[in-house]
């Protein structure tokens, strides 16, 4: 029979090319490879940083020297030579862009190609964007409009310049430099990132967004994001990422810190589409990221939503420390690993306050030779009277060469706590594909439909623009307005 078989069609569907894999040729100000105290001093000096920050970096670096890379994750890769990485690369320019007119047109074109227009005319409706290219922020839109509400949304470097007191007060208070190997490295060498401050009682009137792009060769991207929501404030923040296709692996070791004071709410969404390497596992980004939120105030609420489709290796556990009484933490995740991709991702919910609540909803999709691991920790501290957690971990397997693992850890030290855990594993069956194709759908549409259905609960949590992008990323067409 000459019919195209579902199995073969799935294969071709899974082998779709990475569309953000182009390279932008720009003159760059790049430091030589390698890391030392001198390199850190140069980075700090280039950014004109105050001394406290240089000292903070150096302390982190000295601590990092005493640490070894973690090996507990279910991922495997050759040892990284940390002296073979460029720690600072910035597009060459005058004294930093004063306005978009100063930004290199090549850069604007790059972001336009990625669907992130920075031009006044073409800006994403209702979304303020901070665009980070290699080591520096190239533009932040809507700053003036946000400023009228007292909101600060700028690159990390600008925040250091204009609001050093806020940076000093909050930096490293959620993820201390000594937290882990990659966080220490990031603290020593971070070059830029985004800074958000929402003052007391202000509801941010638009979505804030950062778009990270790694371009330069051999360059690591070490960005730092710090978001502070004061009492009663709320904000929704989006993060997107891409990188060119290259044969060698590139390191991305970011740190994100969220701080929510009393009654504040922070919603942090990520659509991660770093270059995953080719189908044989050559190249791709190593995404080793520490993301943590601190529900510092009573009734505060931090929500992580992530769609992880890229990276050769993902090592990432967005967590929430539920310190304030009645605070709430959520983690909604879709992680896809295809070809030779490895994802070890999950979350930690640390319940310290009374009546704290957390929800974990994890959807892992493994295809090709991909490996997907959920690693979760739910800890209920002795004083967390009445704490509750609900965890659901679902795995979907496509094909028979992939793997899915679930490692939940639950530590309960208060007898009044309620902790629930549910887990399922399913496979896209030949029978499901045949059924859908017998109704006229192509194998590709059928897989998309099934994957989309599987992820629906998580996509629902994403802001509209990102939900669309996420669905496209998973090769799925938008589920109509019905159903």
């Amino acid at each position: 029979m000459k019919t195209a078989t579902p199995a073969r069609q799935i294969d071709s569907f899974l082998e779709q090319e990475y569309s953000a894999g182009f390279e932008t040729l720009l003159e760059a100000d790049t430091l030589p490879k390698g890391l030392s105290e001198d390199v850190i001093r140069v980075i700090s000096a280039k950014k004109g940083e105050p001394d406290f920050l240089l000292q903070w970096r150096l302390e982190a670096y000295r601590h990092w020297l005493t640490m070894t890379p973690p090996h507990w994750a279910a991922v495997s890769f050759p040892e990284i030579d940390f002296q073979d990485i460029v720690y600072y690369s910035a597009p060459k320019k005058k004294d930093g862009p004063k306005s978009l007119d100063d930004v290199d047109p090549e850069l604007l074109k790059t972001f336009e190609k990625l669907g992130v227009p920075l031009h006044e005319r073409a800006r994403l409706a209702g979304v303020a964007v901070d665009a980070v290219f290699d080591s520096v922020s190239v533009a932040t839109t809507f700053q003036k409009e946000l400023g009228e509400h007292g909101i600060i949304f700028c690159s990390f470097s600008e925040a250091v310049k204009h609001h050093p007191e806020l940076v000093r007060q909050y930096l490293g208070t959620v993820v201390p430099p000594s937290d882990n190997f990659y966080a220490a490295l990031n603290s020593a060498v971070f070059s830029d990132g985004s800074f958000v401050f929402i003052p007391k009682g202000v509801k941010c009137p638009m979505e804030l967004s950062t778009y990270f792009r790694i371009n330069a060769r051999d360059t690591g991207q070490f960005e730092r994001t710090l978001i502070i929501a004061e009492e009663g404030a709320s904000v929704s923040y989006l993060e997107g990422c891409t990188a060119p296709m290259r044969d060698e692996n590139q390191l991305h070791a970011a740190v994100v810190e969220l701080i929510a004071l009393d009654d504040a709410k922070i919603k942090y969404s990520t659509v991660q589409n770093w270059y995953p390497g080719d189908k044989d596992g050559v190249g791709g980004i190593y995404n080793f990221v520490t993301k943590r939120g601190d529900c510092r105030g009573a009734r505060s609420h931090i929500s992580w939503t992530q769609v992880e489709t890229g990276s050769a290796i993902t090592w990432k556990y967005p967590s929430v420390i539920l310190r304030g009484d009645d605070s709430v933490g959520d983690f909604h995740s879709v992680a896809l690993s295809n070809h030779r991709q490895q994802a070890d991702t999950g979350t930690k919910m640390i319940h310290m306050g009374r009546n704290t609540r957390s929800t974990i909803l994890s959807k892992g999709i493994s295809a090709g030779h991909g490996s997907n691991t959920f690693r979760g920790l739910v800890r209920i501290a002795p004083r967390a009277e009445g704490a509750r957690n609900y965890t659901q971990c679902d795995s979907l397997l496509i094909g028979d060469q992939c793997a899915a693992h679930t490692f939940p850890t639950i530590e309960v030290r208060n007898p009044s706590a309620q902790v629930e855990h549910e887990a399922t594993t399913s496979r896209i069956g030949e029978d499901q594909l045949f059924y859908a194709m017998q109704r006229g759908l192509t194998a590709e549409d059928a897989v998309s439909m099934i994957v989309n259905g599987f992820c629906r609960e998580v996509f629902k949590e994403l802001p509209m623009e990102f939900a669309v992008e996420a669905q496209k990323l998973l090769g799925v067409s938008l589920e109509g307005s019905i159903g």
Partner: protein
Amino acid sequence: MLDINNLQASVEGKAILKGLDLHVKAGEVHAIMGPNGSGKSTLSQVLAGREAYSVDGGSVTWDGQDLLAMPIEERARAGLFLAFQYPVEIPGVSNAYFLKAAVNAVRKHRGLPEFDAMDFLTRVKAEMKAVGMKEEFLYRSVNEGFSGGEKKRNEVLQMALLEPRLAILDETDSGLDIDALKVVADGVNRLRSPDRALIVITHYQRLLDYIVPDKVHVLSQGRIVRSGGRELALELEEKGYGWIGDSGEVHHEPPASGATR
């Protein structure tokens, strides 16, 4: 419309169809009866294009086209519909979404404008009423948690929406109570038209009380061993499959009314 000549097919190396001939004209309803293991389901799966079944010989011509050369979804879009014996569950995908995607894939192929959400809902609600399905089934995942009868109603609903030119019902009646059986029969009868053909595969005669076939065929050991009019089905009912002589298999009593599988 459909000409099957000397069709031979196997699954996992085991020959099931061993030279099957069947000729169906537009406007006709054919019933294919036979004992378990005679090849009834294999025939339906091969016609729909399931890859686990390999065609080892013979030909199938449908409207002048080589059916066996067409991909699964092309057959479906051209109007071949298979009502499954065991409809498949698709968790997370709403029935409404699934039905709309299928209907629009077929409409597009036929050069008709695709339904928007409102047109589709109007259409599907009318059809659901006809098969006695509550609206809530639109918003549930495809077949997930449906009872046996509900799944079969959902098949008949899809058949009505997709307006096939050739519909094959693979033991759609098995395990149904009398009400559900009538729904299936009614769905088939409403579909009867001079430009459509239907093949009703069944183990039991009782469905043919409600769907009056133009022809009845008896399938045994991978071949059509007898063909006739409606009276052949009655004869089978009376004498059992043992009577056809060459299979050694006997007719089993139908399951109790209301049983599901």
